[in-house]
């Protein structure tokens, strides 16, 4: 038992160092509170460690992890509890600047389908084609969501174009 436990720990440690921060960011933008994010990360890494599909390379693995994490976030967002409660206190703890808090609040207000493409495009630097592959939606849909996400953020903040 010790051997397999250690293997799991080592495996998790390696994967967490590679993907932990990225998945945390994606899930925080989706969910807005650490408890739910931790639950999603737990389930995501369980799937990776105990029941992974075949990966052709590390990019494939990364894309799969993003997709799984986003799907789990959606599951949580669909729950009745989450439809009624918006947690902001966790998010605020990451910032000491009211401008940053304001920007993040605007991002959090976006529909989840816009959040995903905005985050993957502007922060994770994925191309439209790659986002299309990760989210399993057409490139035209990615472009449309990017445009609408940009429009919403611009209109609500009255700031410069993205």
């Amino acid at each position: 038992m010790q051997n397999s436990s250690q293997l799991v720990r080592d495996n998790l440690s390696e994967k967490y160092s590679l993907y932990g921060d990225m998945l945390f960011r994606i899930c925080m933008v989706y969910l807005g509170n650490k408890e739910d994010v931790e639950e999603v990360l737990q389930e995501t890494f369980i799937k990776l460690i105990y029941n992974p599909p075949k990966f052709t390379n590390t990019e494939h693995e990364k894309a799969w992890l993003i997709r799984v994490a986003i799907n789990l976030c959606k599951d949580i967002l669909r729950s009745v509890w989450h439809k009624r409660v918006i947690k902001m206190e966790d998010i605020k703890s990451y910032y000491d600047n009211p401008i940053d808090i304001n920007i993040m609040e605007e991002i959090l207000k976006l529909s989840s389908k816009y959040k995903a493409v905005i985050q993957l495009y502007y922060f994770e630097d994925y191309s439209v084609t790659k986002i299309s592959e990760i989210l399993k939606i057409r490139e035209s849909a990615v472009k449309m969501r990017l445009k609408r996400g940009r429009d919403i953020l611009k209109i609500q903040l009255g700031g410069e174009s993205l």
């Binding site: 799991v8 495996n11 998790l12 390696e14 994967k15 967490y16 105990y50 799969w64 502007y122």
Partner: protein, 324 residues
């Protein structure tokens, strides 16, 4: 707002230092799935990996032997010689697992137990905790947990040698111990049971040689299915199959299917994945759950058997249609 604003605010979101520790603890408590050792391999990228299956397939009637080998992972096929594929309708012989002399061969690590000179590997059948309690048979021994990526051939020649750590091994009531055994234990109060099956050192002439051992017929409790897209993305979007008559006809025909080596048809795993594959999960009355992977043209794959079974029968087409 501009790109820099987005990058700055999102970049400030970072997990606390204790999160990895908490996740590790929780994940270790959740041992619901068979361990997949493949990711572990990547940790030691510079170290040669240990284990592969040596498979000798031959035409049982024609005696035209054809040598082939593939990795022990069902999802990673790496034939030594692609010209050695087998498409015999007369059957396959799968010899015992051997270690390659050439350690540079493409190889994977899988969960396995050595018992009475047979090698039992992880399988496409899972078992529920409740089912495991009922199916728990005579204790056979305790695994040694002595096999890892660095093991040598002599390490395998030990009773209860294993790559799964140290676990108690039991017979499974109602099943042939030469084919199926199980590990069973409680961890933090949660029952963890895994099934291991022996697919080597056997002749497979028809589907009956494998599927009869699974005891699916007249034993079906429920059936659910999943699209390839859901499976590949781990969405777990299962649907219940309500018309069990279609499945019953399909199961009845499994014994008549024709075996083909995995190597000869490995392209099926990659071909039009989203439309050409479907997954069914058959829960049996005893708590076992058998996963079968179906391919559009009538092929059926049971994980870790390393064999495709072809069903040339209307029963397959009717089930395939039912799963839409």
């Amino acid at each position: 707002m501009n790109k820099n604003d987005i990058q700055r605010v999102i970049g400030k979101l970072a997990p606390d230092k204790e999160m990895e520790h908490r996740l590790s603890k929780k994940i270790l408590q959740k041992r619901h799935y068979p361990l997949a050792f493949k990711p572990i391999i990547s940790i030691a990228a510079s170290i040669t990996i240990v284990f592969c299956l040596g498979i000798l397939g031959h035409n049982l009637l024609g005696k035209k032997s054809t040598s082939l080998s593939f990795s022990s992972s069902s999802t990673s096929v790496s034939p030594k010689d692609s010209t050695n594929s087998i498409s015999s309708s007369d059957g396959l012989y799968i010899p015992k697992i051997v270690l390659p002399k050439n350690t540079n061969a493409a190889m994977d690590m899988i969960g396995l137990i050595v018992y009475q000179s047979r090698v039992y590997t992880q399988t496409g059948t899972k078992i529920s905790p409740e089912g495991a309690k009922n199916l728990l048979g005579e204790k056979l021994g305790t695994t040694k947990g002595n096999i890892d990526e660095w093991s040598q051939q002599k390490d395998y020649a030990v009773e209860f040698a294993s790559s799964i750590g140290i676990l108690d091994v039991y017979m499974v009531k109602g099943y042939d111990k030469n084919f199926r055994i199980m590990t069973y234990g409680k961890f933090d109060g949660i029952i963890d049971a895994q099934v291991y099956e022996c697919f080597n050192g056997i002749s497979v002439k028809t589907g009956a040689d494998i599927f009869n051992k699974l005891k699916i017929g007249n034993n079906i409790k429920t059936v659910k299915y999943e699209s390839s897209e859901s499976w590949n993305s781990n969405k777990q979007q299962y649907k219940e199959l309500t018309d069990l008559n279609v499945l019953t006809s399909f199961v009845a025909q499994l014994k008549n299917t024709t075996p083909y080596s995995q190597e000869s048809l490995s392209y099926l795993f990659e071909e039009k994945v989203e439309t050409n594959q479907k997954f069914i999960y058959i829960t049996l009355n005893d708590g076992c759950q058998v996963q079968l992977r179906l391919f559009k043209d009538g092929y059926i794959y049971y994980d870790f058997s390393h064999i495709f079974f072809k069903m040339d029968n209307q029963a397959f087409k009717e089930l395939w249609s039912e799963l839409d």
